[in-house]
């Protein structure tokens, strides 16, 4: 398979508050992501996984090393990398329809086509009928569905997700995990989405991913790359498989030493 995204020896350091010493946030990160692959960045807080995601999005620059998307150097944010935020980041002054339409409109598509695309993706995430609602009128889970629709409707090359379900209650979270996989799947002509997914939940990473980049903290390093050979489609049955439990237990054993004393 073709390499979509390449992270090559990326490091990030910044001055500590006070400025008397340098903090190394990321140290020599290297891995690549294939077209259509779902890769999770998993690690305890402080391992720099969100920093790395922000660098892929183009919001922060690497201190050294490079990030390439389809061979092109990533230097600034752009519509080729969609981002789903933990706090949804829906425009509160726009209705759901207008939120989802925003990306297509920025691409310069005619209004009629934008509405059509937006309606299609709102339906895809199960929010048909809520087009005229404002974000504050919806639950957290519905807002995140809308944010997902907004990102995917813009048809990015890579979908970046920054702990999108961290603020969602546990019951809704399981449903939304399946939803995310379904929305990112190949569909009438469009290939499966390439996804980079940041999480600190081992279960979540194992359930969603084709591959997991396990990271260790201070400075953030790639601790190991774990393949997840669980069959597709991933459903509730997947969570019952012995392989699922073996894998989560294995990752837990390696990450345990970094868990904060309770």
């Amino acid at each position: 398979m073709a390499v979509k995204l390449e992270i090559r020896d990326v490091s990030k350091a910044y001055d500590a508050p006070g400025g008397d010493r340098r903090v190394r946030a990321l140290d020599g990160i290297s891995f690549s992501v294939d077209q259509g692959e779902f890769v999770s960045l998993l690690g305890p807080s402080g391992c720099g996984k969100s920093t790395l995601l922000n660098m892929i999005a183009g919001f922060e620059a690497a201190s050294s090393g490079e990030i390439r998307l389809d061979g092109k150097l990533v230097q600034q944010p752009g519509a080729d990398r969609g981002l789903v935020f933990q706090d949804y980041a829906l425009f509160p002054w726009k209705t759901l329809l207008d939120n989802v339409m925003y990306g297509p409109q920025k691409r310069g598509l005619p209004k009629r086509e934008c509405v059509e695309i937006a309606r299609r993706y709102i339906e895809l995430v199960g929010l048909a009928g809520f087009e005229a609602h404002y974000p504050h009128q919806l639950s957290g889970g519905m807002r995140q569905r809308c944010a997902l629709a907004r990102s995917v409707a813009n048809d990015p090359d890579v979908l970046l997700m920054d702990e999108p379900l961290a603020a969602i209650d546990a019951l809704t979270r399981n449903t939304l995990q399946e939803e995310i996989l379904r929305v990112c799947d190949a569909r009438n002509g469009t290939p499966r989405k390439t996804v980079i997914y940041v999480t600190h939940s081992i279960d979540e990473a194992v359930f969603l991913s084709d591959r997991i980049v396990v990271m260790s903290p201070r400075p953030g390093r790639v601790f190991e790359l774990v393949d997840v050979p669980l069959p597709a489609p991933r459903t509730d049955e997947t969570r019952l498989l012995p392989e699922f439990h073996e894998l989560t237990a294995r990752i837990w054993r390696s990450l345990k030493i970094y868990a904060k004393p309770a």
Binding site: A57, L83, A89, L90, F91, W93, G103, R107
Partner: protein
Amino acid sequence: MATASSARADEHWRVDALTVSAADEATDRADPAPRRRRHTARLVRLVILPVTVLAIWQAAAMLELYNTVLLPPPSRVFMAAIGLIASGELLRHFADSMRRIALANLVSIATAVPLGVLMGRYRPFEEIMDGLLNILRPIPPLAWIPLAILWFGLGESSVVFITLISAFFAILINTIAGVRSVDRSLIRAALTLGASQHDLIKDVVLPATLPHIITGVRIALGVSWMSIVAAELIASSSGLGYMISYYREVLRSDLILVGMLTIGLIGFVMDRGLLWLERRLLPWCTRVEP
């Protein structure tokens, strides 16, 4: 930052008021009767104090407990108001003041909003402007009156200038605060959806700042009335401020009170109007967490 913090205090008050009414609405949707009862109860609470004060004032004047030349009873103020309205004098002064306030505030909005957006968004620009503006800001608008008269002469321009100075800073400070508090995630979301740096102002910064701008205009209208009265006392021969000072010279305390109460009433109506406008324009901005 006195203006900004008073804006915030004001907002807190509003959040409480809105929370209560939102909760009321939720429980009352099923049955409108208790809602109506609560509405009446609230109305009673709102008018009970003014009505009591008026009654005591009137009674004290009728019993001649004090010198009514200094403070005429409500009945005489009311009759004086009728007279001023009938002669068209009140309307003329009101219209003059109102026109000056509208002009001053429109010019303030047109200048302070763009300036505030630039200052809130571009740190170096803010640093360039900050020194000058922070020296000018503490100068009370009234201290500008002598210079204003020298520059513009007695009359319309001077009064508008004084009013403009007070309104300008209220809107500027609230706009800057609004621009600074724009959620960084929203900016980033727009960028990953294909917005250019240029789009950000129009698509994210301005809509997100609009509630703060409206708060700024509300404060600006309040301080406008404070400074316009003083400016008209000195630099004008019309307007409610002039009217009040004119009747002081002829010792008509009843007509002075009519002028004062008119300003109070207009200020109140304008503030409520802006709140109503805000709810209409910004249905998303409930300021109440669900």
